[in-house]
Every structure is written in structure tokens, then in C-alpha cells.
Symmetry: C2
């Protein structure tokens, strides 16, 4: 049997990463490729809710990608890839983040666009391939799009995302705002989480120059749930810094309704981080008015400051 | 005045790189961006012939890109970018090579596809933007496509290139084979070149692991013109190795009619290179039947062997 092609998103998978992997594997299957969606970590409750609601099977977890053929969706840097990806053949990339450190020996299809979700780009790839989008797939793509753009409220949202969302909602028989509210409620189910889970639930690693940096984000309509436990959360962050030797670890607690974030810090470089984010840390905490996007509002200034 | 956006190809510019820079700058201008085509080195005779024939002005040379905003076409690795590009802001990439080491802080539009020319992708970008392609621009794009694919004969040629070439030829009022022959004649004007110019005329640098490697290519219908001066060419290659401290320097002498290459070698790693290319060097020369593409048939095995 020929080797399958794994379509896989980033570690700490979120809804856009998982739904994009499924939707792109489906497109490739229709085009005659033996493509299999996979995930690089535990499912989060929001994503599980989306798959359950759509009646779609959870993709298998790929624990070691060494020797495999991979399509990367929703990421393009090795600090975020599935384990073993450096020893895998990367044959395609579809993403909407900064350009990272993935290199290849051969020319490949690599499409990155500055839009709100990978699902937005995948919708266009269906169009370009002249393939229709069925109701179930539309529901998956819409979920990825609305989750990543915080129901079109994040500053990463473009006009294209809005147009695509309306079209997907129609195909899925859903209402953008109504379904978006369902998703936001899932994001906010923080009560049951341990401080460590809050830190590592939606977490990304970066290499900025010689610095390993971790940035977690909690998107919620009830930031107080996290901030009330601030000492326990900071202690969990300190543990992670010790274990993984990060130069800095940030946790963004993003208030989805007020469209602002509070950031907590562990590790060093407090002054540099504060300056980069135009904020002042008091007792390891700073307020970031208007900041909702880790990718667009936090990563670029931090990279500039720490590289 | 606002800062212009430079659309620029690789060092040692060839026809695809220069024509793609002009065509993409024109598309951006139509969309209201103050885009300026530029080049990162001397024009070669084939490309100058193309611009003269089309009555198009030669793009200005950009000598230092530090502090500028750049769109990279036809390349995406720093060893091939204009000087100063590491201190520039790279805001877009359109290419058809392997994925290199360009990284960004922000999400950008990055489109790489495994097709025969950057011009092929640009034709699709005109379509996607719903912009028509005028006769002059069609001539430029066709020139880039036919030059890079050796008039659709290179193994890098895809069905998409063939379809796009036919369409561009119609828009330009040219015949693919007839115009292709005109271009090939330009490529073959080697008589007036010095050995050093033969080595460095179409030349690319790569970093394979810790090794700096240079690979030149002469595409010609008269390989004897080069090989008759083999000792002088090898001496010129030795000089370049000394000056630039390459681990290896290869010169591919590609016979466009027989669709095969002879490769000359300077620097070290003869055995590793021979094994990678499945060839045996005798007196610093080896024969590569069926090899026409540096990018597709030489770079990947060399990178694997030397990294």
C-alpha cells in the first residue's frame, strides 16, 4: 500500500487547525489523493464540541511524523509542528501566520495569506479546484473561521473573511452570530480547568533569535475566572518555565467582549517585553487595551525586541 | 511621499525574474499600490533582448534594500536576495522554487507553486484579481515562462505551464515555438563571453547545512563552445572558489537540444557530489544524461548529501 499523506495542524490544536486538516484532506481525497487528516495533540473542548455537533469523527493523533509525508495546515514553523516533522517530507503548506523556518529541498505548493483563518484560504482552494463544499464541510470551515476570528471581531479579520463566513453559513444552514455565540460559550468553559491547563490550553512556542519563548492565550467572556486565581496561574507558569527553560513565558487573558487583554509574565525580560508591548508590568501583570491577536499584535513586536 | 514598494527578483537576474518583477509591479499599480519593479544585478543579453523587443524600459537596479519594503519574486532565500534584504521588510513572496530561509514577523502573502516559471503563477494572479493582461505584459510573461522552461522542454514544465503559455502567446500575438526559438538563440550567444562570465552568468548560491555551495548553469544549443575551453573555465571556477570560499562550485553545461548536461567541479566534495548526482567525475567532469533543471534535479540531491 502506498504511504498516506497526512494533513496536520499545529500542536495544541485549536478549531481552525483541526477543521482545516479535515476539510483539506477531504478536498485532496476528492482529487484522488490518499489523504488522511491528523492532529498533533489533545483536542480542546471547543473543537470537540464542533466535531460532535457536526457528527464528524475526531482525526487520529499522529505522535511521530518521522518518515511520513505531511501537508501542514495553520502553521509553518518547526517549534509548532508535530514531533518528527524535521525527519518528514513536507509536501504542502496552507497557512495564515508569519513565515517561519520550514524549508524544503524541492519546490512545493506553499500558500500563506494574511487573513483571519486557514479555513478562509481553504474555501478558496475548493473554489479554485472547482469543487463544491457540502453542508458538513461548510460547518467545519465556518467553525474554524469563526473560532480564529472570535466571530469576526479579532483585528485579524479581513473583508474576505466576512464574505467567506456569510457564504459558509449559508451552505451550512447556520447563522453567523447565533452559531458564533455557541462557539464563544465553549471557549469560555474555563471553570473546570486547572491553572496549568489554562496556561497550556492554547499555547505556542517561538524562537526569537536565541530565545525560546512561550505564549499562551485564554480567550474568554469571563476573564475574572482566570485572574481571580492569578497566584496559582503564575505558579503554574513558573513551573513551565523551569521545565522548558523558556526565556519568557506570557499568558494573554483576552476579554472577548471588551476586546482587550491582560498579560501575565514568567521568566525574564520583563522590561523588554513591556517596552515591546507598550505596557508597564506591575507585579508581573500588564494591561493591553485593544489587544486580541497573539499573532498580529504580540508576536511581531516581541520578535523585533528579542531577536 | 510614501515609501515605494519594490518588486524584485534574485541576484544574477534572468528573464523570468525580471519579467515577473515588471508584470507584478504593473498589477500592483493597477490596484493602487505605488509599486516599482527593480533588479538585483546586471541584465543578461537574453533578458535585454526581451525588453528591447517588447519596447519596455529596463528596471532600475536596487543596490541596497536595507530599510525598504520588498516583494520578492522568483526566489525566497537570503543567499539569493538583493543586498540589504535582511534589513528590509518583506511584504510578499511569489515564487516557484524550494522553500528557503526567508522569515517574517507578520503574516504575509506568500505563494509558491511547483510550476515551471514565476510568470505562470503571475498570470493566475492577474486572473484572480480579475485584471486583463495587455499585449505587452503578455509578451513579458510569455518570455519568462519560455525562458525558464526552455520552451516547455525542461522537466519542470507542468500542464499548467503549457496551457498558460498558449494563452499568453495568443494575447501577445506570438507563436510559442517560433518565439521560443528566438529566445534560445539569445541564450546560446556564448561566443563573446569570457570563461568567468560563463561561470557567473546564471549563478546561484546555496547554504546546504554548513556548506556554501555555488551552482552555475550555461544553457546552450552548442555546449562545445564551453567545453572546448574547459581548462580556462575550470581555472575561472577555481578563482571563484578562492574568492568566495565555496565548499563546492558546480557548472552545469546544459545541452538544450539533447536534453542532457555536463557538469564541471571546483572546490571539494567530489565524491559526495558524484554520489548525489549518480555520476562519476573523471578529471573534474561528469556527464548527467537527462538533467536539465538545476532546481529540480541538482539542488535536492545535493542538499540531502551535503546537509
Amino acid at each position: 500500500m502506498a504511504q498516506p499523506l497526512y494533513v496536520i495542524g499545529h500542536q495544541q490544536p485549536d478549531t481552525d487547525t483541526v477543521c482545516s486538516a479535515i476539510a483539506y484532506a477531504r478536498l485532496k481525497q476528492r482529487q484522488g489523493t490518499d489523504a488522511v487528516p491528523a492532529r498533533a495533540g489533545e483536542m480542546n473542548p471547543e473543537t470537540q464540541f464542533v466535531l460532535d455537533r457536526a457528527g464528524v469523527e475526531t482525526p487520529s493523533r499522529l505522535d511521530d511524523a518521522a518518515g511520513e509525508r505531511l501537508v501542514l495546515v495553520d502553521h509553518n514553523e518547526h517549534s509548532q509542528t508535530v514531533s518528527g516533522a524535521r525527519e518528514a517530507e513536507i509536501v504542502e503548506v496552507v497557512d495564515h501566520h508569519r513565515i517561519g523556518d520550514v524549508t524544503t529541498s524541492d519546490p512545493i505548493f506553499f500558500r500563506n495569506e494574511p487573513v483571519g483563518s486557514t479555513a478562509t484560504i481553504l474555501t478558496q482552494l475548493y473554489d479554485a479546484a472547482d469543487e463544491s463544499i457540502d453542508e458538513e464541510t461548510a460547518q467545519l470551515l465556518l467553525s474554524g473561521l469563526l473560532s480564529d476570528t472570535v466571530v469576526l471581531r479579532s483585528p485579524t479579520t479581513t473583508d474576505r473573511d466576512r464574505t467567506v463566513a456569510e457564504r459558509l453559513a449559508e451552505l451550512a444552514g447556520l447563522d453567523v452570530e447565533e452559531y458564533g455565540k455557541e462557539l464563544l460559550q465553549q471557549k469560555s468553559k474555563l471553570g473546570e480547568k486547572s491553572p496549568r491547563e489554562m496556561v497550556l490550553g492554547d499555547f505556542k512556542e517561538f524562537e526569537f533569535g536565541a530565545h525560546e519563548v512561550g505564549i499562551g492565550q485564554v480567550e474568554t467572556v469571563e476573564p475574572a475566572t482566570v485572574l481571580e486565581q492569578r497566584e496559582a496561574v503564575l505558579a503554574a507558569m513558573d513551573d513551565v518555565v523551569d521545565e522548558r527553560e523558556y526565556a519568557t513565558l506570557l499568558l494573554l487573558v483576552t476579554d472577548l467582549l471588551e476586546e482587550e487583554s491582560t498579560v501575565l509574565l514568567a521568566g525574564g525580560h520583563e522590561d523588554t517585553v513591556g517596552e515591546a508591548l507598550d505596557a508597564t508590568f506591575t507585579d508581573r501583570e500588564a494591561f493591553l487595551p485593544g489587544v486580541m491577536s497573539r499573532k498580529k499584535q504580540v508576536v511581531p513586536p516581541l520578535e523585533d525586541a528579542l531577536s
